[in-house]
Structure formats: C-alpha cells, structure tokens
Amino acid sequence: MGHGFGRKGRYVRDVLVENTQIANADLGVFAYATADGVMLHGNSFSAVKSPLGGRACRRPT
C-alpha cells in the first residue's frame, strides 16, 4: 500500500477527560489529530513537561 496503516476515518470521538491529576511525567494528555470531539475540563498538571500534546490539543477549532 505504501501508506502506513492506511488510516481512514476517525479512531476516537466524543471523549471527556475530566478532573484527572497528572504529575511527574513527560506527557500529560495526548490527542491525535484523528481524535474528534475531545473535551478537557478540570484537569491539573504538576511537573509535566508537555501537559497537552498532539495536534488535536494544540489546534482546537
């Protein structure tokens, strides 16, 4: 195929990440660009190098 996994469509949709505590980590919440409808609310981060990762997190629309 030559196109990796041949991704089509969305893998994940309508996700709520709420009231979590993430500490002492390199990465917090990572959402791939293929994720659709991810809502983050009330989460706290402590000593996390990259609390929000992935294109979906960085480019909300």
Partner: protein
C-alpha cells in the same frame, strides 16, 4: 465541537506547568509566574476563548517571553532534548542528505556532510531568533568529525 476543546484556564495552566518544568530541568532559577511579562500573558491566556486567534497569539507571547529569560540565563545554549517537548522541536536527517549515499557507497570512507532538519510545531506567533548547533560527542573508532558553524533557523518552513 470538533477536535479538542480545552478550557482557557486549563490551557493557561498547562503552559505554565510546561514552562516551570522546562526551567527546572535546565537548572534556571525562578518561577515563570514571577516574571511579569510571562505572568501577564498567561493571565490573559486564561481569559481568551479557546481556539481563538488571541489564544494562539498569547501562547506565543508567553513562550517567547519565557524563552528570552531562559536564553539570558543560559547564554551557552540549550540542549535540544531539554526544550524539544516544550517547543515542539524535532530533528531529523533528510533522506536526500549526502550522508546516506556516502555511507552506502564509500566502503573505504571519506568526508561527507550530515544535514539535519530542525522543525518546531508550536505556534509562536512570530519568528524568534533560534540558532542550531550540532555536535558529535563520541565517534566510532577511526572516525573524525568537524563541527559546522551555528546555523540560524528559518521561519520560512511550511506551516501545516
């Protein structure tokens, strides 16, 4: 809603934690929230609508302000590994680099050049002066390396 929605407060807090983690890992003293220009940008970011142009701009302002402080505290430069995650920096060797061809077609060795591409995936709002310098701390037996001059990074790369 499409893609991800992060509340403005949470987005500002995430950036604050990221900056705190960065300066701690670099051994720079201080707290970004004690730096007025950074604190102001983070405060405004916490009130900006998520995903708005203002949101993106303020993230860039906070990042650039923090970077300026860090650069002043560490004039000798910053290791890529330390800042890569915070700034979304990555480094790779392009396939068209002469090194690939030379490594395969020169069994007896010889000089070659190693090209590296450094990219940043975070929107900084406007170009910031970054200079990259590569070093090879340890080479295999019989190998020799020569450093190139520091190279200024361009902001002309494609933005995707």
């Amino acid at each position: 809603m499409s893609k991800a929605y992060v509340t403005p407060t949470e987005r500002a807090e995430a950036l604050q934690v990221s900056l705190q983690s960065l300066i701690a890992s670099l051994g720079v003293k201080g707290d970004p929230m004690q730096w007025p220009e950074v604190a102001a940008a983070l405060g405004a970011l916490a009130k900006a609508p998520s995903g708005s142009p203002e949101d993106t701009q303020l993230q860039g302002v906070a990042l650039r302000a923090a970077l300026a402080r860090v650069a002043k505290a560490k004039p000798e430069g910053l290791p890529l590994a330390a800042v890569a995650q915070t700034l979304g920096l990555s480094v790779r060797m392009p396939w068209e680099s002469p090194s690939h061809v030379h490594l395969q077609n020169r069994p007896t060795g010889g000089p070659s050049a190693l090209d590296l591409i450094v990219t940043a995936s975070l929107p900084l709002g406007e170009p910031i002066p970054l200079t990259a310098e590569a070093e090879v701390p340890k080479t295999p037996a019989g190998w020799a390396s020569q450093l190139s001059a520091p190279v200024e990074l361009s902001d002309k790369a494609r933005r995707s």
